[in-house]
């Protein structure tokens, strides 16, 4: 069975079928939540941001200029809310390095491995947080969420050439910030 395209679902919601908005929620909540988490927010705050974004999208759905590009429109709401939250938090970092949940004792890495991995992750997180928003966004979408340049351009509402420029600058920025981590980056 073919899924209704976004523009058809948007039209149904606008016609008063409010529950159909759940189709759009189901379709995009995972990727939006993943983006917000990778942008550096903890599970609780990330969920709040995504929830606020969807509710805001619902309230302003009539102003979604291109319903067939609902995902990009929603993504830009998410991105703006991330930006606001980041400003509000003043780059506060509260997320623990290890994900939530318990692991079996036998699955735990040795303390030295855990420390090394934790430090690396922390350094990468710091470096990613320190680069400009648009570069971080492009790197996250490509390297952590697996989007192509064209898909990132559609989501971010910009051109493919702009995305490539952001990726190049982001690579260079990360390279300079993490150069001391490993000697084989030349």
């Amino acid at each position: 069975m073919t899924e209704a395209p976004d523009e058809a679902v948007v039209a149904r919601v606008l016609s008063g079928r409010r529950d159909d908005f759940g189709v759009l929620v189901g379709r995009y909540q995972d990727q939006m939540l993943a983006y917000v988490r990778y942008a550096g927010f903890g599970p609780s705050e990330a969920a709040d941001i995504v929830q606020d974004a969807f509710v805001r999208a619902y309230r302003h759905l009539g102003r979604c200029g291109e319903p067939e590009r609902f995902a990009g429109w929603l993504f830009r709401i998410v991105r703006n809310l991330c930006h606001s939250a980041r400003s509000r938090n003043a780059r506060r970092r509260t997320e623990p390095l290890e994900p939530h949940g318990q692991r079996l004792e036998s699955q735990l890495p040795r303390p030295d491995e855990c420390l090394e991995a934790g430090r690396l992750k922390e350094r990468v997180r710091e470096a990613l947080d320190a680069i400009p928003d648009d570069q971080r966004e492009a790197l996250i979408l490509m390297y952590l969420q697996g989007y192509s340049v064209g898909e990132i351009a559609a989501l971010a509402g910009t051109s493919a050439s702009a995305v490539k420029m952001r990726l190049k600058r982001g690579r260079e920025a990360l390279k300079s910030r993490l150069a001391t981590l490993e000697a084989d980056w030349t």
Partner: protein, 216 residues
């Protein structure tokens, strides 16, 4: 022989697989993936998230008038023939000539269109306020023939975070064409400008008429 940048471009376009990149680029790419990979997790939205969203949606009825207002305010691309555009400009100019005291009162609420307002400006210039209403966007700039269509333009600010973006630009009296740049990429005419004209390349520009400032 392709340069490193060209090769990277082709890789980012998906035209060249990782394995075929020159050694240095491939190592850099693998290193970047390894570093960023330390942040990767299996992230899935919990059931409670969707339930919470739909609960709030249910508590947020959007009345028909709001939908109508949104539909009315939704920016659209309007296409005019040059003749119709010229006619509109002429009609607007005539209207302003017949109604010279049309500067808005101080402290008036911003409107989603470019309007002239008095302000401290160089002699012969008129402070012109550009206003664009867009709650969901990250940035808005204005550019036009008064800036030689500089793609950077002048940044509008959403000072109160309400989605009302404004910028004041001092311009000498005259007729100008302009457009807004939304999120750094989308060129969008002012939906409530006095008129719109085709730029001859398939896009539409908005028309702004700056009248000489009338002294009280």
């Amino acid at each position: 022989m392709k340069t490193k940048q060209q090769e990277l471009d082709r890789y980012l376009d998906g035209d060249v697989p990782l394995a075929e990149l020159r050694d240095q680029l491939r190592l850099e790419e693998e290193q970047l993936s390894r570093w960023l990979g330390t942040l990767r997790e299996d992230i899935r939205a919990p059931r409670a998230l969707r339930e919470g969203i739909m609960r709030r949606v249910a508590e947020t009825p959007v009345p028909p008038w709001k939908r109508l207002a949104d539909w009315t305010l939704r920016p659209r691309t309007m296409r005019l023939t040059p003749a119709a555009g010229a006619l509109a400009v002429a009609a607007s100019a005539l209207l302003l000539t017949l109604w010279p005291d049309s500067s808005p009162p101080a402290g008036s609420s911003p409107e989603p269109s470019a309007t002239a307002a008095t302000g401290t400006t160089p002699a012969g210039f008129v402070s012109t306020r550009f206003v664009f209403v867009a709650p969901e966007v990250g940035s808005v700039h204005v550019t036009g023939d008064f800036l030689s269509w500089d793609p950077e333009g002048v940044a509008l600010e959403d000072i109160r975070g309400t989605g009302i973006w404004t910028a004041d630009v001092a311009l000498p009296p005259g007729v100008y064409q302009y457009t807004f740049i939304v999120d750094g990429a989308r060129w969008q005419p002012d939906p409530l400008a006095v008129s719109q004209v085709s730029d001859g390349f398939g896009q539409v520009n908005s028309v702004l008429i700056v009248s000489p400032r009338t002294e009280a």
